[in-house]
């Protein structure tokens, strides 16, 4: 019995190592096309493995679309891109029913799927669409299905939304509602590349032909890794720690730091706590470890929670950032 258990445990360790190796290979492949941005790539893959969605924030021209397109090609998933504009309607995303004739000459309404029916949806400049259009994604993102004309249609599995928004151009934009922000697993800040990275980008893109990414994973393997990550055991103390962290982001919580009480309007939701634990598991897997730890939680905290907490007027006026508040929370809340 002991030998069986040992063998089984060795297999599990090997599985984790293989998953980490596969993801690392994927990142390496993506970095053949995308210069730098390794944390962003790792964050996007974390969201993909967790079954969540990513909101990328960065100025235009940083390679966000290239990144998503390359990822879709590398994992052999269907990819669609929607450029959000103010006149974009929900039907433009979800699809619409059109009058059509079948072969027998019978006319009827036929549902024409929108771009949302893809494994990877790139919602470019999502904050330029009206709230009505933005809300069209709510059900798709959370339930992985859409409902039009009274009919519910499942979206392809896996379904992964990558939204981008430009932090500079605020004229004529519609900030995302809190409910939709909460549905994004991570919000990642795409930083401007360093000088060396920029030189490398110039070398790669101004030549004869840029290198396309090649497929190195498929959807089934992706789902296997997703299951593997979810199967990792979590120490109970880690769950307690995450719960205390999330509770401490609420201004009226008894153990909230003074900064939270003073500058926050509301704190992270339970979905944020779920995101923290799940992201910590994936982070541990990518580090070839068998369980998430406090350090994993702290690594993913600043990607999973900043968009889930809202500053009040005083915080905005004082120029307080959510990251500063979360650092205060981490400093105060101690694990068991």
């Amino acid at each position: 019995m002991a030998q069986t258990t040992d063998a089984h445990s060795d297999t599990s360790v090997l599985a984790v190592q293989e998953a980490a190796h596969d993801i690392e290979s994927l990142i390496q492949e993506l970095q053949r096309v995308v210069v730098g941005q390794r944390p962003i790539l790792r964050g996007i893959l974390t969201c993909m493995l967790a079954g969540g969605h990513v909101l990328l924030e960065g100025v235009p021209g940083l390679g966000k679309t290239l990144m998503i397109r390359s990822l879709a090609r590398a994992v052999q998933l269907q990819f669609s891109r929607v450029q959000f504009t103010p006149d974009l309607m929900p039907a433009d995303i979800l699809g619409t029913s059109i009058l059509s004739h079948d072969g027998d000459g019978v006319r009827g309404l036929r549902f024409e799927p929108g771009p949302v029916f893809a494994n990877i949806l790139l919602a470019d400049e999502i904050n330029r669409a009206t709230p009505k259009t933005q809300s069209a994604l709510l059900e798709a993102m959370e339930e992985k299905q859409i409902t039009t004309n009274g009919a519910t249609r499942a979206l392809p599995d896996p379904f992964f939304v990558l939204a981008t928004q430009n932090p500079l151009e605020q004229e004529g934009t519609y900030p995302l509602p809190e409910a939709q922000l909460d549905r994004f697993f991570f919000k990642l800040q795409v930083e401007f590349p360093s000088e060396a990275e920029l030189v490398e980008i110039l070398d790669r893109t101004t030549g004869t032909q840029p290198l396309p990414s090649v497929a190195c994973l498929d959807a089934s393997r992706l789902r296997e890794i997703q299951v593997l990550c979810r199967s990792l055991p979590t120490p109970p103390s880690l769950n307690r720690y995450v719960a205390r962290l999330v509770r401490a982001t609420h201004p009226h919580a008894p153990d909230a730091p003074p900064m939270v009480t003073k500058f926050l309007r509301y704190g992270a939701s339970p979905r944020g706590a779920q995101a923290l634990v799940m992201a910590a598991k994936i982070h541990a897997t990518l580090s070839e470890r068998l369980f998430p730890s406090v350090e994993d939680v702290r690594e993913v905290l600043f990607s999973a929670l900043p968009h889930r907490i809202a500053l009040n007027f005083e915080g905005e006026a004082e120029g307080i950032t959510p990251r500063a508040i979360l650092e205060e929370v981490v400093a105060q809340i101690r694990p068991d």
Binding site: A2, S9, V294
Partner: protein
Amino acid sequence: MSERRVESVLGPLLRIARRRQFLVSTWDHLCRWGIPVLGLLTVVGTIAVRDLGAPAWWLLCVASLVPLAATILARRSLPSPRALLRHIDACIRSDDLLGAAYEFAAEADASGPPPTTFKGAVKSSILRRASLRASEVSIPSVLPLRRYRLRSADAAIVCTLAAVVVLPPLSLPRDRSATPDLAAKPPASIMAQDTGLQDRVAPLRRELTDLRARDDEVSAIASAVDRLLETVNSDDANVERARDDLDRLAAVLDELQRTSENAADLDPGLLEVGLREVAERLRALDEGRDVARDLGELDPEGVARGITHALRSTPADRNDEEGANDMARRERILRRIRDGLDRAIRRNTTTPDRLQDLERRLSRASKTGDSRAAPRSPEAQESREKLERLRRQRRAEDRARQRLQDLRDAARRLGREGNAARPSLHPPQDLPTFADGQNTPRATAGPQNRDQEMLVTGLSNAVERVSRSQRMARTRAIIDEAKRTLRRLAKDADRSPSMKAHADAFARAARGPSGLEGRGKTAMSVRDASDVTAAATPASSQEALRSREGRGAAEGSNGVSLHPPDGDPVAHDADEFPNQRGAPLTGARGPGTSRAVTIHEATQQGFANTPYDDVFTDYRGFAQSTLDDETLPAAQRDAARRYFRLIQPRK
């Protein structure tokens, strides 16, 4: 490998780690505050035990509380096993492996054998890795003892401790130049110092050191008193026993004193006067200064040796100028001795007057049939005893005067014989020389030697007699003071009420029987030069309040007591203390003037009209001078200060 086994591997690690953590926490508490507190306690304890007489066991008990408190605090601040393992994981960089294994092991124990699922397999793998890692952990390296670093507070404590150890005790030496303010509240340190019995008796024991120097009965008694004071402690039974022993020693000393007086029947007071006069006159001579010093120090052998040396004769074969100088020196010394003795012989005492007065009063009482004169009445008994005492005193004075006359006559004869035998500086050639054995000096050598021997022996005996008398008096005074100290110890608890009663009594006495405008009966006297208290006692006699400018040597009411120039300016009452009239003959006599106030009776005609502020100032000045001059125990100083605080004038 089962979870139980992994738990059994983590168990020993946890136990060792917890013990080590307890040790580290305790040491950490000691480093942070325990050692500085112990240092402070050491400083306080050193002062308290050495200077204030606090019991050492009490301080040890207090000091032992510090490590005990550190232990309790360390136990209360012990981290949970999970936190401890998290700390170990952080130290060995095992990514929380041991901590997670601890949690998973606990889960596995609670839920039975692990399932053969992926999650169960992962847990098994974690436990196995943790067990391997736990066996490699070196607890001392992950939980090291903190190194103690010296801080500024530690340096301050060490310096203070060194100062306390190096510097002498608070009570010794006392700064005599600092004049205590009678109206000021006494320092707390002195109040605390009073609590030590040994500190109280320390001045007495130092005084006994001189008295134990010789090999006689007085030294034996002084040694016995010293041993008794050395072994006495604050225990009630011990104090009571010590007081009984002191009473017995006082009785032995009294008996010795009586025996000595009966054997010699010489009044030591008059002998002292004679010796003092002689010493004063010899001090003016270069060749007599050594003798004067020996007289002052009451050294009989030194006196005999010095006078013999000073009166050394010129060899018979010397007939030159040096011989003449020797003769002149002899003559000067003998003349000074004669003059001093003459003055002492002419000195009158009040004993004859008082004897005559007492005899007249007794005679008058017997004639008038006064009931107090009945033979068996206590008053008559007391009067008879007083009469007998005065008669004995007069006989002793007569004999002492006779002894001084004998010495003076011997000195006179020596001088006369010396003049008669003085050779001429230029003798005629026909006169016989000293060498032939037929000259006059040779003829007078027998009586001259006899007179010189008589003079030397007489002065030496007088010194011996006075010295013995003084030593007995000082020993008796020390015994009395020791008894008072022990008695005060028993009354320490209610000292404040007694002090208040004392002040009230003095205030009543100062007001007098008729109030502020009346004629009071208050008397203030100092009973003994070595006594430490200025006792305010009512007395029936009415004497003057005398104040005079002098050189520090004050005379008492009877005129026979001598006082050190810088010491007690109050005279002894020969009637009350016939055997305690001795006092040192010499002292530092500075050229400046000093004010000595003798208060025998605080009230006299017109006293009640004096503003109370002035009276208070005089009284306080008197007590202040006593405090300045005498080596008083701190408790007595405090009593005097408190007393004057109580009676100071209030606006």
